[in-house]
């Protein structure tokens, strides 16, 4: 088989940070090349350079032996490189064929009328070629995620793509759809299409990929045939040989049980999950995206009532789906994973954002007690070390880390008993992270029970008193401090040893 893509000595820096250093990466026609690495290892930077989103600082990209420059996403498309993103770029209200031909519709001769029959025929021919059954005249809105992904890939193939980059393609798929996608990938290989497959799922990688490359801290640390590699070997390369020796102060968990979750099941999201959270304890759930933890957290907070099993709070069973207002009244708090969408109110000031949950309790004779609110706001800004020019500053101008601190400050209420945090440090810088960790430790020190979902293994180990690893909605194992084994946790998260 022939080498078609050759990226040589690629380097990229963002200000002082070296994101990629001397990276070599190749793709061969008819093969799947898996690309793995922890968050921040440089995978997406490399793919963005290939896709024309970022420009490389050093190195050469060759396609079929000829040097090319990819200056914009459209250049990548023109050269036959297609990126299939997790957030698909389809138009829901158009048909499958309408989407595939969007922007380059076929017409009846020179008339302005679109030739829907011919477009459908060509799409059907492509689908047949890959053994797929899908009606080209169905609206995309009516398709499931697997089918949508197929439409996106077919669209790429019909614009003469020979290299398809898939980013975590199975994260939103059912078992059945995964099989369909894998069959499709195998057929594409037979047709000589090259595929870059970004994933953390070891069983998938070893069943579909010929080559696996591991990145860590911006460099390639392993690149070999899957036939000659092993799940263990790949996982060890991801984490690095030297283990972090972070010593967390030992803490006796002696408090009462706050939360008890027993055999909680929601088909398709999580299955048979059981655990406890005690006063002052930090329990961290971890896994890959799609492991079911966010859904679980939402069930506990009363946002979703369609589960089997039992959730008890201070020994009392909770009514399923009782709603967030009741949860807050019971002393629970939630910081969501998407602060811009579900956390802050962007046009309002820092002050108004912090004050929101305190308004109820700060009313005197029907009017809001402004002075009391000011005092609360000042205290909250101080306690969380939020950096803002003034409390009147509009929150949308703050950095991600400072917005996140304000989301936290809502829950510094002395009545708080259980705080649920979804990806508490997602997309925020190192300094803000340290502040957030401090706030979490302070709350735990005050006796608040804390349940965290984090996808970052180092953060998990740093914060947790207890860790639950999840894979596809099921608990793999539970680790208690200090018996954390990073390699084993990563293997759990990646589904290693579970077969496919």
């Amino acid at each position: 088989m022939t080498k078609r893509l050759d990226m040589k000595g690629i380097g990229k820096s963002f200000f002082a940070t070296r994101a990629l250093d001397n990276v070599n990466f190749t793709c061969v026609a008819g093969e799947v090349h898996a690309l793995v690495g922890l968050n921040g290892a440089g995978k997406s930077t490399l793919m963005k350079i290939l896709g024309g989103v970022y420009q490389k600082d050093e190195g050469v990209i060759e396609i079929d032996g000829a040097k090319v420059e990819i200056a914009a996403p459209s250049d990548a498309g023109d050269r036959g490189i297609a990126m299939i993103h997790q957030e698909l770029s389809l138009i829901n209200e158009l048909t499958v064929a309408g989407n595939i031909f969007l922007g380059r519709e076929l017409r009846h001769g020179a008339t302005p009328f679109v030739n829907k029959r011919e477009m459908a025929r060509q799409v059907r021919a492509q689908l047949d070629r890959f053994g797929l059954t899908l009606d080209p005249n169905r609206k995309v809105a009516d398709l499931n995620s697997g089918e949508k992904q197929i439409v996106e890939i077919i669209r790429a193939l019909m614009s003469d793509a020979w290299l398809i980059v898939m980013d975590e393609p199975t994260s939103a798929l059912s078992e059945e759809d995964k099989e369909m996608l894998f069959d499709f990938i195998r057929k594409m290989k037979e047709e000589g299409i090259a595929i870059i497959y970004i994933s953390h799922h070891m069983p998938e990688i070893f069943s579909i990929a010929e080559q696996v490359t591991v990145m860590r801290d911006g460099v390639i640390v392993l690149s070999e045939c899957t036939a000659a590699s092993s799940e263990d070997h790949v996982i060890r390369s991801m984490t690095g040989a030297e283990l972090d020796h972070f010593v967390k102060p030992h803490k006796e968990i002696t408090g009462k049980t706050i939360l008890t979750v027993e055999n909680l099941t929601h088909p398709g999201a999580y299955e048979d999950i059981s655990f406890n959270v005690h006063e002052g304890e930090i329990v961290v759930m971890t896994g890959l995206r799609g492991c079911g933890a966010p859904e679980l957290a939402k069930a506990i907070f009363g946002l979703d009532g369609s589960y089997a099993g039992k959730i008890s709070y201070f020994g009392q069973p909770l009514k399923p789906g009782r709603g967030p207002a009741q949860a807050v009244a019971d002393g629970m708090g939630l910081v969501t994973e998407n602060r811009d969408k579900n956390g802050i109110l962007p046009p309002l000031s820092v002050r108004d954002n912090i004050a929101l949950p305190y308004l109820e309790k700060s009313v005197k004779a029907g009017l809001i007690d402004g002075r009391r609110i000011d005092a609360l706001v000042d205290k909250a800004i101080r306690d969380t070390s939020t950096k803002t020019s003034s409390p009147e500053q509009e929150i949308r101008f703050l950095s991600g880390g400072n917005k996140q601190k304000i989301c936290f400050s809502r829950w510094l209420d002395p009545d708080l008993k259980l705080l649920i945090l979804l990806e508490p440090t997602r997309g925020i810088d190192v300094h803000a992270k340290a502040d957030i960790y401090r706030i979490i430790e302070d709350l735990a020190g005050r006796g608040v029970g804390i349940l965290i979902l984090s996808y970052e293994i180092d953060e998990v180990i740093m914060l947790a008193d207890r860790v639950l690893t999840l894979y596809q909605g099921a608990t793999v194992s539970e680790y208690a401090y200090p018996g954390f084994d990073k390699d084993r946790m990563l293997a759990d998260m990646a589904g290693a040893g579970q077969g496919h």
Binding site: I91, N92, E93, G103
Partner: protein
């Protein structure tokens, strides 16, 4: 066997309209008389033109609030040219040129300067209203007389008003454009996701400007029809009432106010629905104030039901 529940859900506006017709017939048999049907067909033409232009704007994810007062302004442009020259052709050309220019202006502000359509067209609404009063002072009017206006206002072909036939033809044309040309697909695509449409290589700005030019042209035509029927033009015409009837028609016809979804057939039924209500309330001598209240209640019921059905479908889809 057809799935009746589904039919009722997707075509509910047809059933509601027919049910209202039966109800009005029971109250006053004159409602279903040939004369009255014919009157409805003529009354809905200006609303229908507004609805048609607005339809493409709304599906593209925008709104054009200037259509109603625009119609009044364009009617006055027609009147002024007619009054000055006594010729019709020049007046019609002037209306077409002015409306396309106004639509182009709206479209450029929305597409190129990225201003919200609501703001741009609201400003245009007030400007059009002001200009109308500037050209013809309040209380004055210009009479429109001659064969052309009689033809547009009251001409019939085999018992049907020419203006109604003209409207139906435009709806058919719009159906073909919406469902069978690239432009129609691009309007839907932009209404669903401007970003994704751009990524697919569509010239989003051009499509948006085109949408606003079309809506302004439709309001120009509505101005011509409206003034022809009345036989005079004056700045005090209720342009905003016309605009709101047009918007109500397409929303009742199942067009998603957020953009990206709708059918031309649905919009036509929504138009009939509005026409039936307007006519029946007049016919039944409902006092003017109560007329509006009743209309509001019926629209709320119809729209509320549509919205709930849409949401239930969203839930099913997950």
């Amino acid at each position: 066997m057809p799935n009746f529940g589904r039919l009722l859900r997707e075509k509910n506006i047809i059933f509601v309209t027919l049910a209202l017709c039966v109800l009005f017939y029971l109250i006053s048999p004159r409602f279903l008389s040939l004369d009255n049907m014919s009157a409805i067909s003529r009354q809905i033409v200006p609303i229908g033109l507004i609805a048609l232009g607005q339809y493409f704007v709304v599906v593209s994810g925008n709104i054009d609030l200037s259509m109603g007062m625009g119609s009044v302004l364009f009617a006055i442009v027609l009147g002024v040219f007619f009054g000055l020259t006594g010729g019709v052709a020049l007046g019609i050309v002037a209306v077409i040129v002015c409306s396309l220019a106004l639509g182009f202006f709206n479209g450029v502000l929305v597409a190129k300067l990225k201003l919200p359509a609501f703001i741009v067209t609201l400003a245009m609404l007030f400007s059009a209203q002001g200009l109308s009063g500037l050209i013809i002072p309040r209380g004055q009017q210009i009479f429109l007389m001659g064969d052309f206006f009689r033809f547009i206002g009251a001409g019939k072909f085999m018992g049907l008003y020419w203006s109604f036939l003209f409207l139906v033809a435009l709806f058919v044309l719009a159906y073909v454009v919406y469902n069978h040309t690239r432009w129609g697909a691009y309007v839907i695509a932009i209404g669903n996701s401007e970003e994704n449409a751009r990524l697919a290589g569509i010239d989003v700005d051009r499509v948006k400007i085109g949408v606003f030019m079309f809506s302004a042209l439709c309001s120009g035509l509505a101005g011509i029809v409206l003034s022809s029927r009345m036989g005079f033009v004056q700045p005090g015409l209720d342009g905003n009432g016309l605009l709101l009837d047009g918007i109500a028609a397409i929303i009742i016809g199942g067009t998603l106010i957020l953009g990206g979804r709708g059918t031309i057939g649905g919009a036509f039924w929504g138009l009939l629905f509005i026409g039936v209500i307007n006519n029946a309330l007049n016919l039944l001598n409902v006092e003017d104030v109560w007329h509006q209240v009743f209309k509001g209640a019926v629209i709320l019921a119809a729209l509320g039901a549509n919205w709930l059905l849409w949401q239930s479908r969203q839930v099913e889809a997950h």
